[in-house]
């Protein structure tokens, strides 16, 4: 195995339940972030979201 392969390789058979739980949560969080970025930064959402910021200026 090259150094890089050794560095990046994973012994999947040695993964414990906790390792899997951690891996799955990490991957889900990653996609969660991607979805949030997409939902928030879509140009079509711009007007609707930016309108929110004016509301508090007249709340009292």
């Amino acid at each position: 195995m090259s150094n890089l392969e050794q560095h990046l390789g994973t012994d999947w058979s040695a993964m414990t339940g906790q390792d899997w739980a951690g891996l799955i949560i990490t991957v889900l969080v990653f996609f969660g972030m991607l979805i949030t970025f997409w939902l928030t930064l879509r140009p079509s959402k711009r007007k609707e979201l930016e309108e929110e910021k004016y509301k508090i200026l007249k709340d009292d």
Binding site: M33, L49, E51, E52, D60
Partner: protein
């Protein structure tokens, strides 16, 4: 001013919490200054167990974080949730109970710590009966806040403003972090043993410890920033979408950082690397958020010349940006090898605690005092004076700690040509003396600013009360 057209909110409890927060700022910074002076001049311990450095330090952290920080968070949360949702508190009585029990609980915490009762877990020193009481009070606070949002008129207020999200994120995260880290087996009324031990104990402790910073001292105070910066500047926040990204990135990201406090310990090496990498990644949302706040002023920077309250809020953002850059640098293994266990950490903590948390709170507290008592401040000049005392005090503090911290790190690792250590530990302690004196001076300036604020707030309230009494008499 005409108040009849204004919506009616539950202001009494917010007034109580606002004044309480200012009083605890004075008390907490007094303890900090005293502790700093003890490090410079140890005779100030006076051989009195209840106020020796070891106890005073923990009394200081509990007073500034929980009593001052916690009361500020309660005051601002109850203030903003009503205004952003256009409703009164879901339960004013519950809010009063929360505020009073919180005050009593925290005074009890400070007294028991001074008597030597502690779990020994940092930021979680409260022994189990008090820890349970605090958890219950926190739950009441959270419940009331959420129910207030739920009770809004969804036709007039279909969406929930972003400051409320930050508050809710903080409330939920702190609830489970505090409870899990506090799991313990009581053996007597004021003695308990943690359920965790060894490496797990360390991991859980810093999972809590860093998130106390990330959620309590950051997310909560960002909620304050997202409401009070636009209100004080009378301009909308620069980008609402950026605030949404800021929120989710903090919520997803912060929980992974804790292990950066445990580099080069018995923890598996990869956990420290993970902590360091995510710390680095957090610079992006943190700076995005800081810029979002600062750019709110774009086109109106001249306001800073005349609006002293806005100055507190904006300099707080500058310190927020600075410490969220410094933190990730210190999380990297190379820098951590030098900085860990030194005063550099203390300097970093206080650039966040004084520069960010205290400054943004002070700005919000002044703003609320004027709104809640429907008056101008007794003296605007004193606010300006306070601003300079606080800023110069903070700079003195952090510069002293940078120098002493880096010096300590270098002295501890220096060795001579035979491979023996060049300095004894005692020599490194002696070398710190001038910097400890400088920090005590910085603290004194910051504390004096807090005392000036208390005076100004008390005089403002007296002035407002006298005015309303004379108005009532004139009508009669």
């Amino acid at each position: 001013m005409d108040t009849t057209a204004k919506p009616q909110y539950d202001n009494g409890v917010v007034q109580y919490l606002t004044v309480g927060a200012v009083a605890f700022l004075v008390l907490g910074t007094f303890m900090g200054t005293f502790a700093a002076a003890q490090l410079a001049w140890p005779a100030l311990n006076f051989d009195i167990a209840e106020i020796t450095f070891a106890r005073l330090r923990v009394m200081h952290t509990n007073t500034v974080i929980y009593a001052f920080g916690g009361m500020t968070l309660m005051a601002t949360a109850f203030y903003t949730v009503q205004r952003t949702n256009g409703v009164k508190l879901w339960s004013n009585a519950m809010a009063w109970w929360t505020a009073i029990l919180f005050t009593i609980g925290l005074l009890a915490v400070v007294v028991t710590i001074s008597l030597g009762m502690t779990t020994g877990k940092e930021y979680h020193e409260q022994e189990w009966p008090l820890a349970i009481a605090i958890a219950v009070v926190w739950t009441l606070y959270t419940f009331n806040f959420m129910m207030t949002i739920a009770s809004r008129n969804k036709e007039t207020h279909p969406n929930v403003y972003v400051s409320n999200w930050f508050f809710m994120g903080m409330m939920i995260a702190i609830t489970y972090l505090y409870v899990v880290n506090g799991l313990a087996i009581p053996v007597s009324l004021f003695r308990s043993y943690s359920l965790f031990s060894g490496v797990q104990d360390a991991m859980i402790q810093w999972w809590w410890g860093h998130n106390a910073v990330g959620f309590f001292l950051t997310a909560g105070f960002l909620a304050i920033m997202y409401y009070f910066v636009p209100k004080q500047a009378q301009r909308p926040i620069y980008s609402y979408r950026l605030s949404v990204i800021h929120f989710w990135a903090l919520m997803f990201g912060y929980v992974w950082l804790g292990a950066h406090h445990l580099q080069y310990t018995a923890l598996p090496d990869w956990t420290g690397s993970l902590g360091a990498v995510i710390s680095l990644a957090m610079i992006i949302p943190s700076w995005g958020g800081a810029l979002n706040g600062m750019l709110t002023l774009s086109g109106a920077w001249d306001r800073l010349r005349t609006d002293y309250i806005l100055r507190f809020l904006i300099i707080a953002l500058a310190f927020y940006a600075m410490s969220t850059f410094e933190g990730p640098v210190m999380a990297s293994k190379t820098v951590n090898a030098l900085s860990h266990y030194t005063d550099w950490t203390i300097g970093h903590v206080h650039s966040g605690a004084l520069g960010w948390v205290a400054m943004v709170s002070i700005g919000a507290l002044y703003h609320m005092v004027m709104k809640l008592w429907n008056t101008e401040m007794y003296s605007m000049k004193l606010i300006n004076f306070h601003f300079w005392l606080a800023t110069i005090g903070t700079v003195f503090y952090i510069v002293a700690m940078w120098v002493s911290g880096i010096m300590q790190g270098l002295m501890w690792r220096a060795y001579d040509e035979y491979g023996t250590l060049a300095y004894t530990f005692a020599e490194s302690v002696a070398a710190m003396h001038p910097y400890y004196a400088m920090r005590a001076l910085g603290g004194l300036l910051f504390f004096s600013g807090a005392a000036v604020m208390l005076y100004n707030v008390v005089m403002t309230i007296r002035m407002a009360n006298a005015k309303s009494t004379s108005q009532v008499e004139a009508h009669a």
